[in-house]
Symmetry: C2
Subunit: 360 residues, 2 copies
Amino acid sequence: MSTTPRPTAIPGPVLVIGCGLVGTSVALALTRAGATVHLRDVLPQNARTAEMLGAGTLATPATVALAVVAVPPDYVAEVVADTLDEWPDAVVTDVASVKHPPLQALSDAGTPGLERYVGSHPMAGSERSGPTAASETLFEGRAWAVTPHATASPEAVELVRELGRTTGATLVEMPTDEHDFAVARVSHLPQVMSVLTAARLHGGPADHLALAGQGLRDVTRIAASDPGLWRQILHANRLPLVELLRDVRDDLDELLDGIERTHVIEEVLDRGVSGTRLIPGKHGEEAAPQLAVVFVQVPDRPGELGRLFRDTGESGVNIEDLRIDHDLGRPVGIAEIAVRPERAEDLTSALTERGWTTYV
Amino acid sequence: MSTTPRPTAIPGPVLVIGCGLVGTSVALALTRAGATVHLRDVLPQNARTAEMLGAGTLATPATVALAVVAVPPDYVAEVVADTLDEWPDAVVTDVASVKHPPLQALSDAGTPGLERYVGSHPMAGSERSGPTAASETLFEGRAWAVTPHATASPEAVELVRELGRTTGATLVEMPTDEHDFAVARVSHLPQVMSVLTAARLHGGPADHLALAGQGLRDVTRIAASDPGLWRQILHANRLPLVELLRDVRDDLDELLDGIERTHVIEEVLDRGVSGTRLIPGKHGEEAAPQLAVVFVQVPDRPGELGRLFRDTGESGVNIEDLRIDHDLGRPVGIAEIAVRPERAEDLTSALTERGWTTYV
C-alpha cells in the first residue's frame, strides 16, 4: 500500500544518533529512499534492534553528509556540538520538540561549525516509544518543521529540507523561537491541560467514574504519555509555555469570578467554540470542513465491523472520519461515520438496505 | 441489528415534555418497548417532528403514569412543579445534567407532591441536538443515574428505575449532591478544560496551527459543543465545579511556580498518568484494559476502508477500538486498530498477507 518513495538527494552517508521511535523511523525512511544509514545509540541494544529492523548499519562511517541527532531534549545541545566537532564536513540537524534553547546554548558557547547546524522537528510520534515502535512511514504527510537560524548556511538548510522531503513529510519553515511558541500552543499546552484534567480524577469515590463518557476519554488520552520525556519537553519550552499557562489562569479566574453571571460563562464558552474552528482539517484545508455524521449500531462480535465497512465501501461514499464509541456494558457499539453532508443520505440508504440500524 | 427490547413494566401512559435530542430518544425507546407515549414541547414543530419519527402521539393523555421532563436545565424546577400539579397521580422525573439545584428549589418552595418526583440523568448525548438527532438506542448500555431524595416514595423511585431499564441503560444510583460532584469531575471539568485549551488557539499566527496534531484535536473536540446549553449546565452546577476549578488552579500554580524544577513538573505529569488509569474501560471493567494497537496505512480513496475492514473481519480478530488519523496533506490515512495484545500478531499477519502495510 506504501507509495513508492523517490530516491533521496542527500549526497552521502547519513548518521542517525539515537535509535528510539523517531530516530529509527527516520533511519528506516532514509534507507527505503536509498540512503546509506549508519546507526548509533548510547544504549547498544537500541542500535542493534534498529539494525535488525533494517534501519541501517552499526559500522562506523568513513564520511558523513548529514547527521540526525534524535536524543532526548536534555542532551540535544551537547550531542549536536560533539557531532559538529566529530564530523567537520557534515550538516547536523536534530529532531527534538523544542528548538530555541539548544540553538541558544550552542550559540552562547561559541560552538565551532554552527553554520552547519539546522534544527528540525517532525510533528509525529506515538504514545509508544523505542525502536520497535518505529515505522518508515511515520512522517508521511505530517508537518516537518525546519528552523533555520541567521548564521546557517543555505546548503545546510537545503539538506535538512531534503531530509524532511525524503521521509514524505510536508515542510513548514519558521525561526526557532516562533516554532517554540507554536508548539507551546498546539502541543505543550494541550498536554498540560489533559494532565490537569486527568489529575482531578483522583479524590472522588470510584463509583463517580462510572458516569465517565467519551468526552472525558478524549480530553485525557494524551495525559497517559511518558512523563519522563514530557518533563524534559515542558522544562525546555517553559518560557512560551508559561505565557500561555498564565493566559489560561486569567481565563480560569475570569470564569471563577464570573460564574454567577451566565453571560461571562457564555463568553468563555464562545471563545472555545471559535478556537476549535481555527484547527486545520484534513488535506491541509483552512479549517475543518463541516461533515455529517451517520451513526450505525454495531453488535460487539468479531466480523461485524468488517461487514459494516464492506457495506460502506460498496456504497461508494468516502469516509472522511470514523470513531467507534463504546461504553460500559453496552451490548452494541456505535460507529460514527463522518462523510460530506451531501453524501450522508446515500450512505444511510445503502446501510439501511443492508440491514443496519442507522441514525443521522 | 437492534436487540429486541423487553416490554416495559411502566403501568400506564408516559408524557414526555420537551422533544429535543434526549426527550425524543426517551420517547422512541419507550414506544419501542410498548409504552403509550404522549409528546409535548413549547416549540410545536419539535413535537410534530418527534411524532413523525414515531416517538408517540400529540394527543392529550387522559391519565399519566410517568412524566419525563426533558427541558433545558434552567426550566427543570418550574416544569417539574407544574407537571406534579397538572398530573396528581403521575410520577415525575427529569433528565437534566444537574440534579441538586432543581430538587433544592422544589423543596424550598414546598412543592406539593414532591414525593412523586425522582430526578434522573442518562449519560448520553451528542454534539448534535434536536429531535432529528434522536435515536431509540441512544441509551443502550450507557449509565443512567437515578437520584432519589429522602422524601421520594419507593414506588416513584422504582418507576424511574424502570424507565432507565426500558431504554437499555445501566442504572447507577446516588443522591443528587453526589451526582452533581461526580458529573462536575467527569463531564463539566473536562468541558471547561477543553474550552480553555481551544480558546488559547486565538492570538497566534495562523501558520502556527499548521503544526497541530491529533492530540490537540482530541483535547478540544468537545469545546465545539453548544455554548447555550453548556452555559446553563455550568451555571447550575457551579458549586462543585468551582471547587474542582480551584484545585486545577492550585495545580496550575504549582506547575508555574515549579517549572524551573523538573521534579515538580514530573510530579504533576505523574498525577495525570495515574488519573487516566482510573477511567473505567469497555464493558464496565475496573479500568481500561491494555490493548495492542496495529497501525495500517489506508490510501485516501473510496472503498479502501471497506476493504480493510472486510479483511480485518475475515481475520476473525475482534476489534476493541479504532481510530482514523489523518493530517494535513497526508496521501494516506493511518487506521489504528486496537485489539487484545495476544491477537495483534494474528491481525498483522492476516493483513500483511492481503497486501496491507502494517506496523505495531
